[in-house]
């Protein structure tokens, strides 16, 4: 069965601190995605990747970086966290034009 895991599941960070959210998939999908979900906005795409070594900007990339060191792993990096980045972050994997499988989400609070 498709499996996407995220860590940590919950994180409290301080303003200006660095935060790294990790995602691992065992689906052997080429594409991986990072979304954030906020009330009134639905799912918004931050960064995505179509293979190891690639990262692409999504719709709201400002303040975020991404890293895809391998087929299985995709990280989202907040170099200088701000309170506006408090949100629930979802990682997903999938192939073009097909179902995306989501991880359980990471709840990030930036104080």
């Amino acid at each position: 069965e498709a499996a996407v895991t995220q860590s940590p599941r919950n994180k409290v960070a301080v303003t200006g601190g660095k935060v790294t959210l990790s995602c691992n998939q065992t689906n052997n999908h080429n594409n991986m995605y990072w979304y954030r979900q906020d009330t009134g906005h639905g799912l918004r795409l931050i960064h995505y990747s179509y293979g190891a070594g690639s990262t692409e900007k999504g719709d709201i990339p400002d303040g975020y970086k991404a890293s895809r060191p391998s087929q299985e792993n995709f990280s989202l990096i907040l170099e200088l966290a701000t309170p506006s980045q408090t949100s629930v972050y979802f990682c997903a994997s999938g192939d073009w034009g097909d179902e995306q499988y989501f991880g359980p989400g990471t709840r990030l609070t930036v104080l």
């Binding site: 639905g42 073009w96 995306q100």
Partner: protein, 111 residues
């Protein structure tokens, strides 16, 4: 602009009734259309999807209708049950591109 729009943020239906969820899209190149279901504090999961070569797809109590000329697709849930209460996200995409998600419609089925 918003590529995929769900104009109704919420919908309430009596148990046993038909729930109709609507989604409009901007890009007439989109050829993949999907509905995801999301419970609070859970990740989205795929309910049903269609390609642009069909106008309708049924799966149990779920039916997706696609109106390409009107750039509109909908999800009909017959015999709605309290366990159908959730947020429903529509998504659309094209070939080698990412999906765009709507903001979601919160469905409440009243016993």
């Amino acid at each position: 602009g918003q590529q995929v729009k769900q104009s109704s943020p919420s919908l309430t239906v009596q148990e046993g009734g038909i729930s109709i969820l609507n989604c409009d899209y901007e890009n007439d190149m989109f050829d993949y259309f999907a509905w995801y279901k999301k419970y609070p504090d859970n990740s989205p999961t795929l309910l049903i999807s269609v390609r642009s070569n069909v106008d309708k797809r049924e799966d149990g109590r779920l039916t997706v209708f696609l109106n390409k000329s009107g750039k509109h697709f909908s999800l009909h849930i017959t015999a709605s049950q309290p366990e159908d209460t959730a947020v429903y996200l529509c998504a659309a995409g094209a070939g080698y591109q990412n999906f765009y998600f709507g903001k979601g419609t919160s469905l409440t089925v009243i016993p």
